[in-house]
């Protein structure tokens, strides 16, 4: 067992690491099963209502010969990828998102929903637990708190320049996260992830009866569905940036640190 004294020298706390990997799994399943659910009606609307005869601000078009995504009045051909793709048997499928991006890989709305809601529970409970724990063990205050000095434009600009030069960590820094990391982590954990839970709940007719204000906040059930989809897209973007920075910062060392805890560089005086 790790003694608490050694624990303070760890770069990532056990709870943080545990949550990170549970969350990684949850988000993977939630995105992929969410795409299955999206395939049932691949159109997005603003407002309370929206069905096939109503104007969709985003829609996937499908036929046996063509697949496309329409955003507003702009059509982007996506044949072979979205709206028209070949399954593993070489058959053309006209569901919006292809089998390799969905759970299950074949179309089953009922199964997609089961996966989605099961992992949504783990994800939500995990997020709530992480938030409370992070406040009590002072992860938020110590590591994610943005000091007045860091808020200065010159400080932010310096960090942007460092990132552009692919220099992610100032040797002199005592913070484990730099300002841009803090922005993205706070933005994702404390804004984007809760937003996904609440827009998800806002689509539920029972929740609409229980908490009508929830659907109203987002401007209606179909708006909530659109925001849920946009939030998922932002999470994917975050994931891509997360992977790029990981690759640039040293994927093996960083991944190993997220598994074992690693060491804080400033306390590494062996």
């Amino acid at each position: 067992m790790i003694k608490s004294q050694n624990n303070t020298a760890k770069r990532h706390k056990l709870t943080t690491r545990l949550w990170h990997w549970v969350n990684a799994l949850c988000l993977l399943v939630l995105v992929m099963s969410g795409l299955t659910i999206f395939n049932a009606h691949p159109r997005l609307y603003w407002g309370e209502y929206g069905a096939s005869d109503d104007y969709a601000w985003a829609a996937v078009g499908s036929s046996q010969t063509l697949g496309y995504v329409r955003l507003g009045e702009t059509k982007i051909e996506t044949t072979g990828f979205v709206g028209n793709w070949r399954d593993s048997n070489g058959q053309i499928q006209t569901w919006a998102f292809p089998g390799w991006a969905t759970i299950p890989s074949y179309y089953s709305l009922a199964e997609g929903r089961r996966w989605h809601f099961f992992f949504a529970w783990i994800f939500s409970v995990g997020l709530a637990f992480f938030m409370i724990r992070s406040l009590f063990n002072r992860h938020v205050q110590k590591d994610l708190h943005i000091s007045r000095a860091e808020w200065r434009p010159s400080s932010i600009w310096r960090d942007v320049r460092n990132h552009l030069r692919l220099r992610f960590h100032e040797v002199s820094s005592v913070n484990i996260y730099n300002i841009l990391q803090k922005f993205s982590y706070v933005g994702v954990i404390f804004i984007l992830l809760p937003l996904m839970i609440f827009t998800g709940l806002a689509m539920s007719p029972a929740m609409d009866a229980n908490w009508p204000w929830l659907t109203d906040i987002f401007g209606g059930r179909q708006s909530a569905r659109s925001i849920h989809f946009i939030g998922m897209s932002l999470l994917l973007l975050f994931f891509i940036v997360h992977m790029i920075t990981l690759l640039l910062a040293g994927p093996f060392k960083q991944t190993w640190a997220m598994i074992t805890g690693g060491k804080r560089e400033d306390s590494d005086h062996a």
Binding site: Y49, S105, L109, P205, M207, D208, A209
Partner: protein
């Protein structure tokens, strides 16, 4: 053309890699035990959603200006059976709603009898499991009034709605528990947006159970059966889509 090929190769390689990961998910998805584990989250949804609100909390109601320009129809668009078509031809004058099963006083209502009872009109949002929504104005008899006349026996736990339409050769049916049965917005609707309910939306009678998804709102209702258990109806899962498509019986989310 080289570019096309390389793009295809890239996509195929990606698909194969993801495919091996996915085949694991598919195998799990088809495994009954794993399905039951995933399904436990639905029990949690049911318990939590029922616990969160007042048990008679109303679904949001809207105003005329919020109506969908067209109320989308789904599932059966026309039952098309000889009986149904004949009944439709005479404006459903001979339509009967039979209350059978665990009632102290089983009832038989004609459409005219239902129309002469007190009515409720509500503008609500219909949420389909597929993701779309439509807002419509429904008028009908509160189900509670029918239940008050027929008087449930103590052993009754669910109401099963039998329908005139068949999908894939099976009769459509649905079921709700007594909490939803006595909910003030649960009505047997015969008017949509001020007109008789169109055939594609479930003429002449459809259930509205506003806190659940669209597939619970049985159309073309001919009978309401009070039962102690759903085990002996259809395949025992409580509804057509529950039996055929593995949808959840509780459709609050």
């Amino acid at each position: 053309m080289r570019k096309m090929l390389s793009r295809r190769t890239l996509i195929t390689t990606g698909a194969l890699g993801a495919g091996s990961l996915l085949s694991g998910c598919d195998a799990l998805s088809r495994n009954q035990t794993f399905q039951n584990i995933l399904g436990s989250a639905e029990d949690a949804n049911f318990l939590v959603q029922r616990a969160l609100g007042d048990r008679m909390e109303l679904a949001s109601e809207y105003s005329i200006k919020d109506l969908s320009p067209k109320f989308r129809a789904n599932g059966t668009r026309d039952p098309g059976t000889p009986d149904y078509t004949a009944s439709a031809a005479q404006g459903f004058a001979d339509w009967q709603l039979r209350l059978t099963g665990l009632f102290k006083k089983p009832q038989n209502f004609s459409l005219a009898a239902l129309l002469s009872m007190p009515q409720r009109t509500q503008i609500t949002r219909h949420d389909c499991v597929e993701g779309w929504s439509a807002i419509g104005q429904w008028t009908g008899v509160p189900l509670k009034l029918l239940l008050d006349l027929a008087q449930l026996q103590d052993s009754a736990k669910f109401l099963v709605f039998h329908c005139a339409d068949r999908l894939g050769g099976r009769p459509y049916y649905e079921s709700i528990d007594l909490l939803d049965a006595f909910h003030p917005q649960t009505i047997m609707a015969h008017r949509l947006n001020g007109e008789s309910v169109p055939i594609e939306n479930g003429a002449p009678l459809r259930l509205r159970v506003e806190r659940q998804l669209g597939y619970k709102h049985a159309k073309y209702v001919t009978g309401i059966e009070a039962v102690a258990t759903l085990d002996n109806i259809g395949e025992g899962k409580g509804g057509y889509w529950e039996d055929v498509g593995n949808y959840e019986w509780y459709a609050g989310i």
